[in-house]
Amino acid sequence: MKQKISLPRRNLAGSPGRTAVLVLLTALLTMTVLGGTLIVSGLRKGLRSLEGRLGADVMVVPYEATTQSKLEDIVLQGSTGYFYMDRKLCDKITAREGVGQVSVQLFLASTSSGCCSIPVQIIGFDPETDFTVSPWIRQKRSEPLGAGDIVVGNDLNAFVGDTLTFYGVECHVAAKLDKTGTRFDTAVFTNLDTIRMLIQSSIDRKMNDFQKLNPDGVVSCVLINPADGYSAEEVVNDINLHVKKVRAIRTKEMISGVSDSLSGIASVTGILIAAVWVLVIIILLLVFTMSVNERKREFAVLRVIGASRGAAARCVLQEALTVGLLGGAAGIGIGLLVVLPFNSLIEETLGLPFLLPGGGRIALLSGAALLLAAIVSAAASALSAYRISRLDPAVILRGDAS
């Protein structure tokens, strides 16, 4: 015989089937809330990261690049591709009114890197003029990149000191960037000299689509920040009007497209979460009401033995709270077990920049989800608890007796 027992806990253990259903429901609720919130905030963070990484307000690319209709894919997602324009065009662009900071980049896609035949986007930048990539490369490496040095994105399984071979040229990994949740995670960065060497090697091996190319005379894109007093829109319009064979794009415009689809995803997720909520709350309400109705006589007995109205109601609330906490913890466990390991897959499936929040924030969101589960189940049982507190033990116990 025990000195003490917890009646709510014993009641839950006494009906394992009912308790399991209730715990499962609250777990489902917590999982959808936490999973949905993590995905939406991951998308937001990814987008912010992309905004921070784009660096230039205006991007000028050869006209053919835009006809491939893949430009957005290349800028926003990890699709690989390369295109070139004459260097002289770059001088024309630089000479336009309103053009402030200017830097050029050269692109190349590898066909083979290390073990896997997956193309990697190689981006060559000019360390002298660059204002987009250098600032965040400098966070990892302060010395300038030498010939054959590369900086790899976070998703590439190469580490500082490794050697990667592109088109027969051995490149030395000088730094590895932090995760950004954008296309830059799967890219390789290097200076213009090295990328020209790689392009030449790809031409020599007849593995480049542009076989007659002179790597020294071309660039892939020109990145521009407008001069003071000019807007990006003015610069874009001016270049598109006066410089042939190129197309100027406002990078922010591309992001706003992503922003729109993001708010779409956020609202769909919101609606889904709300639907699950309403459903779960209704079911919880029904199950609690049924389970308490079924045990009316037991609660009447408790009152006879000396439980006050408040104590009887507290017993119902405590049962609900225990269910909420158990289900909440299970839901958080399952939710994190799905979202955290599978975040690369989620990123791939969504096709949008995706960067999971940091550990502290995930812990905070999990705590909030647990609290929510507890509050929702307590609220769903509140009506039953109130009815139990109002119950007249004499009426219940008399039944059909006098």
């Binding site: 990890g78 890197s113 290390g114 073990c115 896997c116 035949s117 997956i118 990697v120 976070n154 998703d155 590439l156 399984n157 190469a158 995670d185 799967t186 077990l337 799905v338 390991p341 599978f342 690369s344 897959l345 990123e347 791939e348």
Partner: protein, 133 residues
């Protein structure tokens, strides 16, 4: 309850063994190319999972609680090893966005963690069971 948990453990080990080959397998063999590193990881996980299935079957069949408990702990250790195979014990592909990283690795981790937890639960239950008189 004990029996049900052990049967679930057996089913999950079998599911990991079959799943890593059929559902959440590693990167496909490129046309005309060679198998990639991740294929070795896939085979290793499949082999370990087959071992786990055999161990959990043994645990289910063995009457002696102490021996069965030890097998449960061995199963948990094996599952932990399976979780470490992709990426840690066996090298995988170049990019985190590739199938072996995005699909196989997390699925193997999730399955292995669940199997390890379940195996520990079963081990505790078997260790603490009373001798049938």
């Amino acid at each position: 309850m004990k029996k049900i948990l052990q049967i679930i453990l057996l089913l999950m080990s079998a599911a990991l063994c079959a799943g890593v080959k059929l559902v959440f397998h590693a990167c496909a063999k490129p046309a005309g190319g060679m198998w990639m590193h991740c294929h070795d990881a896939e085979n290793a996980v499949c082999g370990i999972a087959a071992g786990l299935a055999v161990l959990s079957l043994l645990m289910l069949l063995i009457k002696n609680g102490k021996i069965a408990g030890c097998i449960g702990i061995l199963t948990a250790a094996g599952a932990a090893a399976a979780a470490l195979v992709p990426g840690h014990i066996v090298k995988m592909c170049m990019m985190d966005t590739m199938r072996c990283h995005a699909v196989m690795k997390p699925a193997v981790i999730v399955f292995s963690v669940l199997i390890a937890l379940l195996a520990l639960c079963c081990a505790v239950l078997r260790f603490t069971e009373k001798k049938e008189s």
